[in-house]
Amino acid sequence: MSILGNRVLRKEDPKFLTVGGSYVDDLPLEGAVHVVYARSTMAHARIGGVDKSEAEAAPGVLAVYTAADIDLAPIPNGAPFGNPAMTRPWLADGVVRYVGEPVAAVVAQTRAQAVDAAEMVIVDYDPLPAVVDPEAALRDETLLFPEAGTNLVMTFPDALAGIMLPAEAADQDEGIFDDCEVVVARRIVNQRVAPCPLEVRAGAASWTEGRLTQWATTQAPHGVRDTLAQSLGVDPTAVRVVSPDVGGGFGAKIGAYPEELFLAWISRALGRPTRWVETRSESMTNLGHGRAQVQDVRIGGTRDGRILAYRLDVIQDSGAYPAIGAFLPMFTRTMLTGVYDVPKVYFKARSVATNTTPTVAYRGAGRPEATAAIERAIDLFAAEIGMDPADVRRRNLVGKDRFPFTTPTGTVYDVGDYERALDLVLEAADYKSLRKEQARRRQSGDASQLGIGLSVYVEITNGLPGSEFGSVQVRPDGKVTVRTGTSPHGQGHVTSWAMLVSEQLGVAVDDIEVVHGDTDVVPRGVGTYGSRSLQTGGVAVNQAAGQVVEKARQLAADLLEASPDDVVLDKAGGRFHVAGTPAVGRTWSELAQAAGEGGLSAETDFTAPGPTFPFGAHVVVAEVDTETGRVRISRVVAVDDAGRILNPLLAEGQIHGGIAQGVAQALMEEVVYDEDGNPVTSNLADYEFVSAAELPAFETIHMETPTPLNELGAKGIGESGTIGSTPAVQNAVVDALAHLGVRHVPMPATPERVWRAIAESRAGGNS
């Protein structure tokens, strides 16, 4: 019986549940000194001067560095093809551009001494007007980078036309709505949120004989190695990056942050190992934020529910120093029309710098924004023509016979059956009964009204080109070492990759060790993000395992003096023998020993032929207290089809976490700044980070449509839950109030916003 598809318990868990994980800040590091950053208290100001004398004289302090001490080139604009004049200094140089930006690095014998001394760094600020609102930033009245002459980081599709997109990618705007009987438009804010991994950022650096070892809490150790080498001007072979256990990333830990990279520079300057860990409040203002789009959506079609045209105009807030967040509208465009067959579309986006924390990839990274926009638009359209939103969706879905399907923005969907996902979720939710109950509540005038929210989504996983490394080695004791370039931080690769290898070799999962996160041990790797790991790194490991089996078969044939074609692997017994004569055989251990030095091994670099497109449908039931505005989610019913499922337990874990974060965006989470650019949500008391108590038990429905793009039939599952759930929740909240005339409630749908939406609509406003 195959182990694949089974609920194999996580190999990782006994450690986490007993002795606990070992994170960067847990590492013993002999003789290390502590770094703490003094940070800007202003969103935008010129630095008149920095007086570090008191800090330098404080107990235990070894050094205090400011921009003037640094001999490193500024960090290039982190948004590919972004305005090159928008570079980032290592420490604020002459001007600060957001609250929390590091101004000085204080190094001391103990962390407490460094914290005390950081308070003594006196910065003379000459305030400049702060621009917090991305729409205001576009007016270029206050410039973050006067030398750039604009706050505009880049525009889409123009900036990528002829590079990542065809030259003629500039979509058509003129007249696309001319044939529409009904057109609905709305401004939608996909608010800024904080990724909030439980493990905050941390790092440590140590040089021995000209070689750097850097410990990083990252999703991509090899990328961090290359960035370090490049910024320090050393060869990548002179850098080793180790990422021990990583407590979550959600996209915000893909790259390396200046505070981490700078540890290596300080360590080299002082000849001492350095270490640093941020506080939660520092994390809330310096770990990159996600989403942050202002969207103008327009949708049009016929009165009987056929959608004919769709237009999305995005303003992407990139924060003070453009990073990957500024580039993400690229993926919003990729997924523009979602699961629908829309003949005419137009997309435009502008990324703009503001005096706020830089934005980065966050669970979904550009795709949830596309889904939220079109799923909200569909509901607006359905409300306008008075049709059930499920029916409008069904009418416009891309049919299952149309794959591979090319969308109007040129995206090629691999395979899907959206209508079946919709059918399954409606049936599981008992949609008809829900509508009846809703009608009953409306009739009775109950303060608690029922909302039913839908979303049908498709998303792109492994969306950026790149290969992944995997190797399998059978050791002389018959146990197996797997090396992977992926960098798990909660996903369970140690279990999944062992399952793949066990399936092929017939070696027990417990006898298979999976090694990751050390660039000296794993020669190459891209990392874990964009829901890419199984379909790249998993496939690589799977192929390496297959090659090891073939090598072993060859070797066994030699030893058994038989033809390789006659030698079979008895997986239950973990040995090779000639077909029909099981009594004489060779075990993995015997073969590994016979193979000599290094045992039996194989390695591969797998490059997928293209991205895959998981899809699904969610129904959310919300109870909305129309007097207090309070929303309670009573049900989340989710169909998430990620192709073939390797381990349902792990897949459900990803779906559960994803839904929780998706619900949180719709109802609770929002990074807020005041008008001067001061963050007001910089701890988890003020930032409404969701907990289990606010969520119902999720109802997940099984559906598997394997992708033809890889031998496992697997797509990514890491981000789907987030992508599908957010619009379903928002739609549910609006739906609960539809009979009161409410057409839209902004995210997060806080009690006050719900209450205001009702009040406005009673006053004739919210339509």
């Binding site: 962390r111 409040s281 003020d686 907990s691 108590a693 606010e694 009690p751 209450w755």
Partner: protein, 273 residues
């Protein structure tokens, strides 16, 4: 999240605590459960020169029947209030509300004395103390004094307790019949955006408000409307009268006023007024 340096002394008795407070002067602070004080210190919003730790004064942890009142030691933890048989008999609203404070970790560390002494209008128990006409027993170098709850809360994080004094006991009236506590918050572990306590101690309903001003408040207008024969719904209309709620990330002042009206009505209805 490292507090500024401070001195630390552990008190072995109430008397020792009071002399330690005098000794360490104005900038010393009493440390009870630490669940309000330590977070402020870690953010360096509070920088006391010394902490006088009273956390181990078992003698101040009790719930006792004191005739027409019920006496609660200042060091009684929220969790102990939650499971107290005495309170279940004579003032169940106190147990219920203690069970709504924060999360289990907070309830096992935080104390009623700390909650009251902190003077945070967003806290739950102070409003209950106010509704039950609490008496706060305060001891200092000059001896003991008793301050009625109506005179205890002076302003935001300000109370009648002097810098060299210790709150030792809270005396509450026993409740009769129906009561209600309406805590409106966004997450289970959050403080109340607005809260309403309704209880009857002598036949007439007392109504107290959480987070509707700089201190916990009695909804006097509601109480007098009820006394004048108004229905719960009518009386609740004046729930925000005299209140001065703030606007913050949780809610605007306007929304808080609205919530107070809705929650007072619901509280009165639930209490069977």
């Amino acid at each position: 999240m490292i507090p500024a340096a401070f001195e630390y002394a552990r008190a072995g008795s109430v008397d020792e605590a009071i002399s330690l407070l005098s000794e360490h002067g104005e900038d010393a602070k009493v440390l009870a459960g630490g669940h309000s004080l330590l977070p402020l210190m870690k953010l360096r919003l509070a920088t006391p020169s010394a902490l006088i730790d009273v956390g181990r004064l078992q003698e101040l942890s009790y719930v006792r029947d004191a005739g027409d009142r019920i006496a609660i030691g200042a060091l009684t933890r929220h969790r102990d209030l939650q499971v107290s048989d005495e309170l279940a008999r004579s003032a169940p609203i106190v147990s219920h509300v203690a069970g709504l404070v924060g999360d289990p970790q907070v309830r096992h560390r935080g104390t009623i004395g700390g909650s009251v002494a902190h003077g945070d209008p967003a806290s739950d128990l102070p409003a209950v103390v106010l509704a039950l006409d609490g008496e706060l027993v305060i001891r200092g170098p000059a001896g003991e004094r008793v301050v009625p709850a109506s005179e205890f809360f002076h302003g935001f994080l300000e109370t009648a307790i002097g810098p060299d004094e210790l709150l030792v006991e809270i005396r509450l009236r026993k409740t009769q019949g129906g009561w209600s506590y309406q805590k409106f918050n966004r997450r289970a572990q959050d403080w109340a955006t607005v809260g309403v306590a309704v209880a009857r101690t002598d036949g007439t309903p007392a109504v107290a408000l959480v987070n509707m001003g700089a201190t916990p408040l009695r909804a006097a207008a509601v109480e007098s409307a009820l006394a004048a024969g108004a229905s719960p719904a009518e009386a609740a209309e004046s729930a925000a009268e005299g209140a001065d709620p703030s606007s913050d990330i949780q809610a605007s002042a306007e929304f808080r006023r609205h919530l107070a009206r809705v929650l007072v009505r619901r509280g009165l209805e639930e209490a069977g007024v």
